[in-house]
């Protein structure tokens, strides 16, 4: 019999439901797998060996009864405070809203997923637990901020993980690690006990190996069904510049091939005020992030600390203007969705860079991965819409490439329909790719 963590989340749930495998056997195998395989990627620095076994008595009888997942360090759990990638207990231990929803569906929390410090970074190079490696090449970034979630799913340590996304933090690491990453619509789940409550950008997200697993986990998180419909014949709006143009040519080519394979109706879209979206995002995000107390500040890495301290100096005059731009961009996005079921472009403009030098080569020149990554994903956070990253193949560097889709508010099911359609027409060629670490 193969290891249960080589199965999908759906297969694990079905095996426990049928009694082919007990929840305890699945949990024990999962803990053993994490211990055996995580050293080079550092995705799951905290394993709840005792607590997760206690959680089995009893497990709620939901659709994910007895299935172990990991949870990003941004969510408080009844037995552990949320630390947000630092060494401080920042939100006291409690049953956070997203935890409650998942627990009601029967999941067992097996460990904490590593993340970029305070969620401020898309590379996973900074964390109180140490940096995160990519299962496709542990010397390269897993991404961030939900890098531990994406790496753990990619490496077959768990089949699902709860992440979050304030500027791309679920979708970007999903792209780097070759898994599916779905950011929910803003405010779709209770935010208590979750760092997202402090910003108007963040939404929880799920990381899974394919669209079916992401659908199951997202439905559990949302506590509502996400009915499956056909993903064929959809209308796709593409915004050429900069999302397709300032991108590694191999990434562009993989994206175009995926769109061709899907057979969707593709047309170009012009989004009014897009050129101001980055400034509006930055202005509000800085204001909402603030600066932590001195004792925490002193323990942060220099890049994170300097970002926070530089942000503190930004004049407040930009904030009301940013809100006006935000409203205008939301209007133009809603208009774009009148002629498109979803918008689409590459998730990350280049594959995961080396941990030691997280920069990427783009047609516009050599760039910090953080800046070019967030450029591709911030629109969903600025406007509140859901977004997904879907694996669409490998770069010549043997690192994954992801395709990014945005749907209207509440359109999670449509994104998953599109993801599953793409899986079908490509014979699962991309979602079933296994990284070297998991072979």
């Amino acid at each position: 019999m193969s290891h249960p963590q080589d199965w999908t989340l759906r297969q694990q749930a079905e095996a426990v439901r049928r009694g082919d495998l007990s929840a305890r056997e699945l949990l024990d195998a999962t803990i053993a797998r994490i211990i055996e395989r995580d050293a080079s990627i550092n995705s799951t620095p905290v394993i709840f060996e005792a607590t997760s076994r206690e959680e089995l008595n009893p497990v709620p009888p939901g659709p994910l009864h007895g299935v172990p997942i990991t949870v990003k360090d941004m969510f408080a759990l009844p037995w552990r405070a949320a630390r947000n990638g630092t060494s401080f207990d920042l939100i006291p231990a409690s049953a956070s809203g997203p935890y409650r929803n998942l627990r009601d569906s029967g999941v067992v929390i097996v460990g904490i997923a590593n993340q970029h410090e305070l969620g401020i970074g898309t590379t996973g190079t900074e964390s109180a637990y140490g940096r995160m490696g990519n299962p496709w090449n542990p010397g390269h970034c897993a991404g961030g901020s939900s890098g531990g979630s994406a790496a753990a799913v990619s490496a077959r340590l768990v089949a699902g993980s709860l992440g979050s996304d304030s500027g791309g933090s679920t979708r970007l690491p999903a792209s780097y690690c070759g898994v599916v990453g779905l950011k929910l619509t803003y405010g779709a789940v209770p935010y208590d006990g979750y760092f997202g409550a402090a910003t108007t950008f963040s939404a929880p997200g799920v990381l899974a190996r394919d669209g079916g697993d992401a659908r199951m986990l997202a439905a559990a998180l949302l506590q509502r069904p996400l009915p499956q419909q056909s993903g064929s014949g959809l209308r796709v709006g593409i915004i050429r510049d900069p999302f397709w143009s300032d991108v590694d040519p191999e990434v562009t080519s993989a994206g175009e091939k995926a769109l061709g394979a899907a057979g969707w109706h593709v047309h170009e879209v012009r989004l009014e005020h897009l050129e101001l979206a980055g400034a509006a995002f930055l202005s509000r995000l800085i204001a909402e992030t603030g600066v932590p107390p001195n004792d925490l500040l002193a323990t942060l890495s220099r890049p994170t600390r300097s970002l926070l301290l530089a942000g503190m100096l930004a004049p407040a005059r930009f904030i009301p203007r940013a809100d006006r731009v935000r409203a205008a961009v939301r209007e133009s996005l809603a208009k774009a969705f009148q002629s498109a079921d979803f918008l689409c472009w590459p998730t990350t403009p280049a594959p995961a860079p080396p941990l030691d030098e997280p920069r990427v080569n783009l047609p516009s020149g050599r760039a910090f991965a953080d800046l070019s990554n967030v450029r591709q994903t911030l629109l969903a956070n600025l406007t509140g819409v859901p977004g997904i990253s879907i694996p669409i193949g490998l770069h010549s560097s043997k690192l994954p490439i992801g395709l990014h889709l945005l749907a209207p508010w509440g359109g999670e099911a449509r994104l998953l329909d599109a993801a599953e359609h793409l899986e079908r027409v490509t014979d699962r060629a991309f979602v079933d790719l296994v990284p070297p670490l998991a072979r």
Partner: protein, 63 residues
């Protein structure tokens, strides 16, 4: 000490924030990049960008 350093230190002091002096060069670099990007907001025509309520959970109501 540069003008930026002097101003930054005074601002942090006012908020009782302790700053490692060796961080100031990086802070200045990030600050300059941030302001450069934010200044685009200074040039918007407020007539074209009305202040309206935002509910991020839903699509904007048709104007």
């Amino acid at each position: 000490m540069s003008e930026f350093e002097e101003w930054a230190r005074a601002t942090y002091r006012q908020s009782s924030i302790e700053v490692d002096p060796s961080d100031l060069a990086l802070i200045e670099l990030i600050y300059a990049g941030t302001i450069h990007q934010l200044e685009a907001l200074d040039h918007i025509d407020l007539e074209k960008f009305p202040a309206v309520g935002i509910d991020l959970r839903h699509a904007p109501k048709p104007s």
